[in-house]
Amino acid sequence: MASFLKILFRNVLQGPSTDPFPLGETFTPDRQRGRVKINPDLCMGCGMCKYSCAAGAIDLRPQQDGKGFIITVWRNSCCLCASCRHYCPTGAMTLTNDWHTTHAEEDKYNIVEQQKIDYVPCAQCGKLMRPLPRQLAEKLYAYNTEIDRELTRTLCPECRRMLDARRNAGALETASEQTQQQTGA
């Protein structure tokens, strides 16, 4: 008999437990998986996200003039599994905690995240290519002091290979030798 009075008293103290949404604010956890976001500075167009996407929501195609590529995520097919975020080597794919995706039927094909990414000419030969993101270059060459990261990331794969071959053949001064000479002089 007294137990229900206890519950009643507690409920009177606590107030209603109903979330005021959509009339008021609601709670969204920081790690809630919501809308996909692509960082155009980091995306390399490697297609790992497209390969790992369970729902086939990601499309990656070259631009019509061949001067870059377009990456598109159709959010109406995205199952929010975040495998693109997990497998993206540069960390370009992220999931925000924005879950407000409800829309009317006319907007069905407009619910996309699209980034148009342009190629940049190679610093040596001028061939169009995608420069390596600085973050990735620092990670890749973290233990190799001989390589100039800023130069290497702006070179196309062929020029990079040639530079590497020349360095290995001893025909090129390494960065460590340069510093030795500077300190010596």
């Binding site: 109903t18 959509p22 097919s77 009317a104 619910i111």
Partner: protein, 149 residues
């Protein structure tokens, strides 16, 4: 004000919901049950409640990619709902096919068979997202009744 308009305005207070499972994995159905049964989300604040018969329904929530086996039954049940009705596709499966798209037994997406009004993507959508969808469906339902605002 005619009696007809007055009755219409009164009936707007409570659109009844009806659920159709078109081959869903049950994830979205659990979220729909959560939206109605847990006091935290409480869809009955908007006058909505789930009804057992399609003939009583105003807003129909459809989950799941439309599978070959369930397609004709979905169409039959959907036909029984009186006009004007609002169709809400809950989850990515009825909208685009989702992870099941291009499967051998998938006849979807849903809008190939049924005119859809509201899409609520998510796998599954949050209960709050479903509430947003129901509120949008209610406004579309009022427009269909000719009682805007």
């Amino acid at each position: 004000m005619s009696l007809n308009t007055m009755l219409k305005k009164l009936s707007v207070c409570s659109p009844w919901l009806f659920r159709i499972n078109a081959g869903s994995c049950n994830g979205c159905d659990v979220e729909l049950a959560t939206t109605a049964c847990i006091p935290r989300y409480d869809v009955e604040r908007f006058g909505c409640r789930y009804c057992g018969s399609p003939r009583h329904a105003d807003v129909v929530l459809i989950t799941g990619p439309v599978t070959t086996r369930v397609r004709d039954r979905v169409l039959r049940v959907w036909e029984e709902i009186p006009e004007p009705k609002v169709t809400v596709a809950v989850g990515i499966c009825p909208i685009s096919g989702g992870v099941f798209r291009e499967g051998y037994s998938i006849e979807g997406p849903l809008d190939k068979w049924i005119p859809v009004d509201v899409n609520v993507p998510g796998c599954p959508p949050r209960p709050q997202a479903i509430l947003e969808g129901v509120v949008l469906a209610k406004s579309i339902w009022m427009k269909k009744l000719g009682l805007e605002g």
